[in-house]
Amino acid sequence: MADINERGYTSPDVLVSTEWVAENLNNENVRIVESNEDPLLYPSGHIPGAVEVDWTNDLNDPIVRDYIGKDAFEALASRIGITPETTVVFYGDKGNWWATYAFWVFNLFGHTNTKVMDGGRTKWVAEGRDLTRDVPTYSETEYKAPQDRDDKSIRALREDVLKHVQGKGQLVDVRSPAEYSGEKLHMEGYPQEGALRGGHIPGAKNIPWSRAANEDGTFKNAEELKAIYEDEQGLDPNKPTVSYCRIGERSSHSWFVLNYLLGFDNVRNYDGSWTEWGNSVGVPIEK
């Protein structure tokens, strides 16, 4: 795979290679963050110096179906010893689904000095790089979030999506074709995250998240991505776009691709996704 800077991305600086991470393990201005689906992976071995941000325990409000608020985010950021100036590099399992999800949440609070390790945990392990079970400790900071949680710029809520649909806006459904068609009411293996109705949001194009990734988990180059999203599916980078999946984690991967690698102007992730839309009263679906 070509060097990240040679792949034609609009914002290549949001991606770093495994080599870059290996060279920056002791860089005090960099914090490596692992975010996984399987909770046993981080404690079983992680990149030396990496901290864990767990999607369930750290990023979600335990009561409301929502993300943590500003205070909780500041407490989390302080605990992992970062300041607003720290470069935070995310990586994880499942092709970086959860890493891009955590990346997206950090950006909701204006922590934009964020990057993703291309290829994620799978590539790091495949290359035989060091793993450790030692959990690092960093001096706690007094982190002040750059902004309140911004639920408008990169996040779409149900009512936003409804207006977007009524305005015939661009939508990208990143689920599997069977979920998109309504043949399946949930992703294989995730029946409790299903919906009463099968199908998709009217007008949505079906572009499964995995089409943006190579076999080794790295992102395809810009030319290959353009061929899929723009040439094949006809998406216009100048028009507002909403991505969604089942709960918002796979679509954060596609949000990352559209926003940073292809430079679409206005991309929002609809984290309510099909588990909300498919069960909502008063919203239309298409099969």
């Binding site: 999607w55 293996g189 995250e193």
Partner: protein
């Protein structure tokens, strides 16, 4: 008296004493380290495996087999093709230890949500379903051999 295998009840009780998340994770990782002991031997199955043994709801690509013991009980065998599927490996070790050789009618009574007794309630969204799928597959084997 419990209607599930005694060993499973004991395992569940052991886990109930673990209240610290990190301690729980360490214990589960230790169990996963013993996965080779329950990994299906070639005399039972070799890759590519028959898809009928695939756990339909497991992202870690888990497979389950059952071999009949002389006393009519079953010995359960597993494979997990995703090398990062540690949780799947851990539950396989737990199930082999607690259910292999247990009376089939008791195995048939095991409820899939027992995985939350081992992994905790805060397991990532969706993860529990794959693990419950492995339990369901073992229970289904027991029921099938009972002719249910």
């Amino acid at each position: 008296m419990s209607n599930i295998p005694t060993k499973l009840e004991e395992t569940r009780e052991d886990f109930s004493f673990i209240t610290n998340r990190m301690e729980r994770q360490e214990y589960l990782i230790q169990l996963a380290d013993g996965f080779n002991e329950v990994k299906v031997p070639e005399r039972i199955a070799s890759q590519p495996y028959d898809e009928s043994h695939r756990v339909p709801s497991c992202e870690s690509e888990a497979f389950v087999w059952a071999e009949e013991n002389e006393d009519g009980t079953l010995k359960y065998w597993f494979d997990v093709l995703n090398p990062q599927g540690l949780s799947a490996m851990a539950i396989a070790v737990i199930l082999d230890d607690a259910l292999s050789g247990a009376p089939l009618d008791q195995v048939a009574n095991v409820q899939a949500d027992i995985v939350f007794d081992f992994f905790g309630k805060n397991i990532a969204m969706g993860k529990g379903q794959g693990l419950m799928g492995i339990v369901n597959m073992v229970v289904a084997e027991a029921k099938r051999r009972q002719g249910k």
